[in-house]
Symmetry: C2
Subunit: 398 residues, 2 copies
Amino acid sequence: MTVAARILPTGIPPLRREALEAPDSGIVEVFEHGFGRPGLIPLWAGEGDLPTPGFITDTAARSLAAGETFYTLQRGIPELRTAISAYMSRLYGKPLPPERFFVTIGGMHAIQIAMRIASGPEDEVIVPTPAWPNFLGALTVSGARAVLLPMQLEKGRWHLDLDRLAAAITPRTRVIVVNSPSNPTGWTATGAELHAVLELARRHDLWIVADEIYGRFVYGGDARAPSFHDFAGGEERVLYAQTFSKNWAMTGWRVGWLEAPAALGGMIENLVQYSTSGVATFVQRAAVTALEQGETFIARQIEIAKRGREIVLESARRTNRIELAPPEGAFYAFFRVLGVADVRKAALALVEEANVGVAPGTAFGPGGEGYFRLCYARKSEDVAEAMGRIEHWLAARS
Amino acid sequence: MTVAARILPTGIPPLRREALEAPDSGIVEVFEHGFGRPGLIPLWAGEGDLPTPGFITDTAARSLAAGETFYTLQRGIPELRTAISAYMSRLYGKPLPPERFFVTIGGMHAIQIAMRIASGPEDEVIVPTPAWPNFLGALTVSGARAVLLPMQLEKGRWHLDLDRLAAAITPRTRVIVVNSPSNPTGWTATGAELHAVLELARRHDLWIVADEIYGRFVYGGDARAPSFHDFAGGEERVLYAQTFSKNWAMTGWRVGWLEAPAALGGMIENLVQYSTSGVATFVQRAAVTALEQGETFIARQIEIAKRGREIVLESARRTNRIELAPPEGAFYAFFRVLGVADVRKAALALVEEANVGVAPGTAFGPGGEGYFRLCYARKSEDVAEAMGRIEHWLAARS
């Protein structure tokens, strides 16, 4: 359906509903409000403060110097697909062959392709919220309808109600989105929860779009979060979006992968061809290096996040006004502040008055009202300084 | 509409029609048949034999070394949007402000976004053919219906019949795709033709998706091809897809831009956010250098294409079996061979028996039957050697 956009100049023909309705990101509004402010501590985005390590950037520079600047393979170069396969097989303790992996322009592009495969106009996609706003964005653009399912904060833990999830399924449902560990809440599904969701998807013949990109950022002592890999067969209904952004500090590179049944390979190749036509070979070479030599760096990243998390939790205990479920995974604090109701306004004020950038919880859909999200994957001094500024700001307003 | 894919494993839920129907590229089939063959001269793809020049790659390497590896702005960094604006304003002799330019993952991504803005399910998009297969691919994925309008080869020139174009417009038509200079035919619209198409679009309130990426590769003595910029106002119905691939030998970098009415900026920013989330800053820095320092290199690229074109035309004259309209622009020869009807089979045989890679005309839609496409933007020796091999192969089969 095209829609006449009456506010636009007269030379603009009708615009498609799916494009018009793509929501503005509520994170971007605050980001743009504070972008470039001297001394601001930016905890609004999902990235740390470390640039990509030199051993990764050097590989890209060498590939460029060697003239690897021509068109490349749409599924990814074999070296990278093999390296991803080795990494994932090791992490999940089972053979995951290279044929399952498709290199994409970041996790976002993997989600776009997954949504195109599984859903579109007339279809419904269930998204537990609070959720990363880009899920809703991508499925709006695909033409599908989002069915938002607010999670509950119970006894200090976010909780996915499986009965309510089952009740949300209609004949039009095509996909359940599961993001565990969760951005923004830190909720990390147990194995039993994932297994139950998978059984539900099997019973109703649904796709699962699984975002497990924070799977190594967990705080309960395990090496990784539970995963659909622990329960699902290779040639079935799970589409996994993955990224190099978080583990290897490569947010700005725009490289990730889609993991899918190998039987969909031809279709996925075409969807890459007609959207981005592949990922630069020199970027893919750097990604191979990240996978093969990045473990020490990842351990350091996780350690930084652990310390940041502790600092936020201490601040919450100290002030007695900041409330949150201790995040089980990912690297965000999703918190309420007693006495602060309008979080969008407060996030803008925190930029101006405290020089700290946090994201308003309203950006993350139903269940996020009254919350803020901050990213603590930064050096301890900065996280401590930011929490101090927030505490000071709160004290001045109590 | 989702479709049960009966040939797939039982754990695969229904797949969306738009994804299933995305066509395989007929170029890729031949490419994969011959990929990696020793000594093969690859004229099947739209790229030259020169890697990206060092002054461009060096900029990317410097940006990487400086740690520019973080999330970036969705519309592109201001420096690049300003540099594109300066370049385009100079080329088209009119002010085109930075607000019109949106950095994308190559021209393909710009086309995907343009299609999402302007068309979708229930809509029709008119594509004159023979055409680059990715137009059809992108609009199939968007859910729109392609209305293919075969062009005519008349008196040694490809010809767009404006009466037939007007007759193809229905109440469902939303977009006319115009690719001039054309890949694959080399057809280059006159100013009068472009003006007539624009008037038609104005009359029926349609979008034009304009691919003018070969605009500087013209062979009639002008500095550039006629453009919709010569006739259309800034805030009206033309969406231009552009790329760094051809002028600056950056096919593998995946960077280009969408030029659109500035009033659509917020929408385009969201469509970038929910598909690729921007282009790497270090790639954008390299693109700035390309625009600011690339003119000598472009002149050389055009010179190479001119020589390649002459070699192909001489070969056609010599053999008396190769027929083509001398290409007015772009850098492809789209030719017929007397006595060769099954071009797909012949293209595969040319790989095996002559060690030359060309694309079968069938890949380019109605009007392409019986034709081959080859790219002559390579060094003269290789083009001459390839034509010699083709002539020899033909002679052995006559």
